[in-house]
């Protein structure tokens, strides 16, 4: 595993995601209320591109006929069969123990730090299409 720079902070608005490819794997990087999370862009059910699904809240209820939406923006609904996943953990809401989307660690570093650490052997790796500036902060994913 190694850290990879995948986006500039500010590039992914809260409530949205960006699809990136790191070491041949497609990931979705999500901004949930200012915190970043990364999930494999592949539903554990039948493989749909999860990032095409809607980012939603959690429908809850205390009794029949009573509806509440909580945790707005923290869940992702698969575009194919509607399974709900917790963006923070990748766990399926209905079956959290057995059904999980692979989740990756994410961190934010300053451009200065990224440049300082940027070492060919240890990472963080910076895609060739990406130029790092000391003025900005960057989102890194551990893949």
């Amino acid at each position: 595993m190694s850290w990879h720079v995948v986006a500039k902070v500010g590039e992914i608005e809260p409530g949205t995601s960006k699809v990136v490819t790191v070491r041949g794997r497609e990931l979705g990087v999500f901004n949930v209320k200012g915190d970043y999370y990364a999930l494999a862009n592949k539903c554990p059910h039948e493989g749909a591109s999860l990032c095409k699904g809607r980012i939603i809240g959690l429908a809850e209820s205390d009794e029949p006929g009573h509806y509440r939406l909580t945790r707005q923006g923290e869940l992702l609904r698969c575009p194919w069969h509607g399974w709900e996943f917790d963006i923070r953990t990748g766990q399926s809401w209905c079956d959290p123990v057995r059904t999980k989307v692979k989740a990756y660690h994410v961190k934010v570093e300053t451009g200065e730090e990224v440049e300082k650490l940027g070492d060919k052997s240890k990472g963080p790796y910076i895609a060739e299409t990406f130029s790092v500036s000391v003025k900005d902060n960057y989102i890194l994913v551990d893949v």
Partner: protein, 370 residues
């Protein structure tokens, strides 16, 4: 153990080597005339004036001469309605199978009456008649409370009226009525049932408010009988989806004559679909199969009869619980011959649960005398 006790235990152990509780037998109301003493003057007069005392109130699906209506050796002399004699029922089902208890589910044509008042009057009369002519006569008998199905307020009144008599152990409804059973219209009934520890027995049969299949009216009994399980599936889904078990966590449902071999596929399909659309029913917080295993019980006759005993074992495994099946004979209907009421695949501890434990756990008002 002295010999007398031994003999008694043996008698109680019946033909299956273990005592049994028969969860579905059918007393028949011989005629409206039988019920006359249980109506008040107004209704007696009305029933005579309107010729209602001469109607037979037989359910359309069970005309007396249809083969399944009664096993040949269980028919009564002189053309009396099968199941209409308590002494003979005692002999045929309690003595013959060595059952310690039998639960009477009285399926009477008045369940289909459109008049709420008349339906309530019939339900009350039938329950009074059951108490006096059946329960008083044989201490092994218990009964489901007959209720007017389409007026929950009247239904609750009838439940309250019987609540003090512990020999009424459940409430009887039909699988096909005016509305899906999960709908909130029925909730007052469930509230009362939960309060008094009465499971709801949902029995095969229709009041024919709608076609008994979802594709329209069938032509033959074959279709009517086989299609019942489809209605049970729909009701099971309605109860889960509408949140009956979230609202009334203490309630149990008994599906009588539903069959149960369809359950595994149904549970798989319901579980799978729930995962995709559970947001519209957020009160359903568990897999439907888990909810069903916790709250719904199934009587074994008529059995769907998988050809090999091993098939049945596998189905019970797939249902995923030893707690859901309960012994029944469906007397006097013709579902098996001789005393083959308990499928051979049910053996050992599973047989014990089916014959006894599961019913005791379900019918909480059934007090067993040691």
């Amino acid at each position: 153990m002295d010999t007398v006790t031994q003999q008694r235990v043996k008698a109680r152990a019946g033909i299956f080597g273990h005592p049994a509780i028969d969860c579905d037998v059918h007393p028949a109301v011989p005629s409206v005339k039988t019920l006359m003493p249980y109506f008040d003057e107004y209704w007696r007069e009305q029933f005579i004036a309107r010729g209602i005392d001469r109607l037979n109130f037989v359910m359309t699906s069970q005309p007396p001469n249809a083969p399944i209506t009664s096993r040949p050796d269980w028919r009564l002399p002189a053309g009396a309605k099968p199941g209409s004699d308590p002494a003979i029922l005692g002999k045929h089902v309690l003595d013959a199978f060595g059952s310690s208890y039998a639960i009477c589910n009285t399926i009477h044509g008045s369940l289909a009456l459109h008049s709420d008042d008349m339906a309530a009057v019939f339900a009350r009369a039938i329950n009074d008649w059951l108490a006096k002519e059946w329960l008083d006569r044989d201490p092994r008998l218990r009964a489901s409370i007959v209720i007017p199905l389409e007026n929950p307020e009247f239904a609750v009144e009838e439940i309250e009226r019987r609540a003090g008599d512990k020999r009424f152990v459940s409430v009887l409804m039909l699988v096909m009525g005016e509305q899906p059973l999960g709908r909130r219209t029925h909730w007052p009934i469930y509230k009362a049932a939960e309060k008094y520890g009465l499971p709801i027995v949902v029995h095969a049969g229709s009041t024919y408010r709608h076609a008994p299949t979802s594709i329209g009216w069938p032509s033959y009994f074959l279709e009517d009988y086989v299609n019942q399980s489809g209605a049970f599936e729909s009701q099971l889904l309605s109860l889960v989806a509408e949140g009956v078990f979230s609202k009334f966590p203490g309630i149990k449902f008994v599906f009588a004559e539903s069959g149960f071999c369809w359950l595994p596929a149904f549970m798989w399909r319901a579980n799978k679909t729930w995962r995709g659309v559970r947001m519209e029913v957020p009160w359903v917080k568990q897999y439907p199969a888990e909810i069903i295993r916790a709250h719904v019980r199934f009587t074994i006759q008529p059995i769907d009869a998988p050809p090999e005993p091993g098939d049945l074992e596998r189905i019970v495994e797939q249902i995923g619980s030893d707690d859901v099946l309960m012994f029944s004979t469906d007397y006097p209907h013709w579902q098996f011959d001789g005393t083959d009421a308990l499928p051979k695949a049910l053996t050992g501890s599973l047989a014990r649960k089916v014959l006894w434990d599961n019913a005791l756990a379900t019918y909480s008002r059934l007090e067993v005398n040691a």
